[in-house]
Amino acid sequence: MKTNFLKLAAVLGLIMFWLVLGGCGESRSPFAGTYRSLEPFAGKNFAELELKENGKGTWTLAGKTMAEFTWVVNDGKPWFYLKTGGILIATPTEGGKVLSVDTTGDWHPGCPPGSCVLFKRVQKGG
């Protein structure tokens, strides 16, 4: 019976290992930092994007926080998870210095006119 419990414990251990391993994604470091939109957003001020190493992020406009989100890196692209359930995918260019954010929430992010915000990194790290 003791052997059986050891086997059960081994299976549980493997599952826990798998869960922990599954929770680790790609490194956020290459994209962590503060970004500013290349052009004024919605005819107002520049939008700012702050991506912290701990996976938290904010989108601010004219000093006002428009959205707080968590973010991860999937397949080399930062994904922003909004609390409302929306997801935005940013496409990095220039080695991650510029992020193109498709605000339509399209899974194949492009840069459609009126729905695309280009951000340039102004400070690295977070």
Partner: protein, 479 residues
């Protein structure tokens, strides 16, 4: 055969020593001395070594009956009854045996009533203990096959409790019941009134759905303001309104096209909270498609992200369609174990990708347009935990029949949803894994059907490596 073997004494055999009969043979370890079903010819007495007595079914499932050592004997049952061998005997170590032919055995019994009585006594004991063993085994099997409502209540209850409690501490928590306690403070506008305003250019139509739905088909001239991106997109929307002459005086009509009314009513509330006075929702949630001119675009290819290991595993259940064509494999408990591990791995993996962000999964559920608004959040909270709990039960072999039933039921729901989405050309991903998952297509339906067949196979034939009411059952059983 008996549990506590004892060599018949010379007195019991009527003064004859067994070693004076028959012939001595040496059998190497791992050899079969007697095979179940064969015609009996000899009676054996063990001088040295150990032997295993077991029964074997047609599909090679072995049940150990006992082990015999020096002094024990076997083979007498078939010689006395004249029936084929009732069990097989195999040497565990090299064994030295005395092999007595049927003629010698019969002569021995005829001439020695004491020995005959001894053997009859042993057979009677064996029958009595056999009955007891049989009863124990039947009880065990009944317990093993038993499914009670408690099993289902346990798994469903655990899933709901885990889902609700985890939600309390989750950064991405969602309300248990969407819209609970909120007042119906948004005016509804009838289709005909909306049509009138549309013709007079006195209304701004806002589509609250995700952009993929909007792109596929929307009311001509409508703007898309997806509810899920409201915080970010509202400044842009406001800017557009400011650029539109006379926009302030127009009625803002929100439509969502969804049975759950999840998007339109909530978006109308948010717009109202931002200071827009004349906000209404379209009363007939899907009527705009026929009443208004629409703009349509061909649906885009469904997006997906790599599912990694889980994505590869998900193809394996398709093999079940071939395996069930081979009868011995179809009934194999080993296949059931493999199926349990596979389904468990798939469901655990899929559950983990959804648990942290219930809001995303809730909206994926809304996309199917099959569930009323009040049930979506509870579903989104409980289902991933149900997948995890039931997946773990399958892997660990706990209440596997009930767990298989629940996984099967989930698969039936998924299949219905997928077929619905395909037939209605919904521009969605399945939402099965995390936020994106796989495209909705017939392959996905087939994979789920494979998993459903697997659950049936587990339900019918699973019996190894299970921890159930009867205790833990390994491959070989000693009764």
């Amino acid at each position: 055969m008996e549990d506590k073997p004892k060599t018949p004494s010379a007195e019991e055999t009527g003064g004859l020593k067994l070693c004076e009969l028959g012939q001595e043979v040496v059998i190497p370890a791992g050899s079969r001395v007697v095979s179940q079903g064969e015609t009996p010819e000899f009676f054996y007495v063990i001088q040295s070594g150990r032997l295993r007595v077991f029964r074997e079914t047609a599909d090679r499932i072995q049940t150990n009956l006992t082990e015999l050592g020096p002094g024990a004997y076997f083979g007498e049952v078939a010689l006395v009854t004249g029936q084929p061998r009732s069990a097989s005997v195999e040497t565990l170590t090299e064994a030295r045996l005395i092999k007595v032919s049927q003629v010698e055995f019969d002569r021995l019994l005829d001439q020695n009533p004491k020995l005959a009585r001894h053997i009859i006594n042993q057979l009677a004991n064996w029958l009595v203990t056999g009955d007891s063993r049989l009863e124990k085994e039947v009880v065990h099997q009944v317990k093993l096959r038993q499914i009670s409502w408690f099993d289902y209540a346990l798994m469903v209850g655990l899933s709901i409790i885990f889902g609700v409690v985890f939600n309390l501490y989750n950064d991405n928590k969602i309300p248990l019941i969407y819209g609970w306690g909120e007042k119906a403070d948004i005016r509804e506008i009838t289709l005909s009134n909306a049509e009138e305003l549309y013709k007079q250019n006195q209304a701004i139509f806002i589509d609250a759905r995700k952009s993929a739905f909007f792109d596929q088909k929307h009311l001509k001239g409508a703007m898309n303001l997806p509810l899920i991106l409201f915080d970010l997109m509202y400044p842009m929307f406001q800017f557009t309104l400011e650029q539109t002459p006379g926009a302030k005086d127009k009625t803002t009509i929100v439509y969502g096209g969804s049975f759950s009314r999840r998007f339109d009513i909530e978006l109308a509330r948010l717009l109202k909270s931002k200071g827009l006075d004349k906000v209404a929702v379209l009363g007939d949630y899907s009527g705009w498609q026929k009443a208004f001119p629409v703009e349509e675009r061909p649906p885009k290819e469904g997006a997906s992200i790599s599912l990694g290991l889980a994505g590869l595993l998900e193809w394996l259940p398709l093999s079940i369609f071939l395996l069930i064509l081979i009868p011995p494999i179809r009934r194999s408990p080993y296949l059931a174990v493999a199926g349990r591990l596979l389904l468990g791995a798939i469901f655990i993996s899929f559950a983990l990708s959804k648990i942290l962000r219930p809001a995303v999964f809730a909206l994926n559920t809304v996309d199917y347009g099959m569930m009323p608004s009040f049930g979506v959040n509870l579903w989104a909270l409980a289902l991933p935990w149900a997948e995890l709990v039931v997946g773990l039960f399958l892997v660990l072999g706990i209440r596997t029949r009930a767990a298989a039933t629940l996984i099967g039921a989930m698969n039936v729901i998924f299949i219905v949803g997928l077929v619905w989405a395909i037939l209605h050309h919904l521009p969605i991903n399945c939402g099965c894994v995390g936020e994106v998952g796989e495209p909705v297509n017939w392959w996905k339906v087939l994979k789920n059907t494979g998993m459903l067949v697997m659950t049936i196979q587990i339900f019918l034939y699973d019996r190894f490596f299970v921890l159930d009411r009867g205790g833990f059952t390994l491959r070989d059983r000693t009764i």
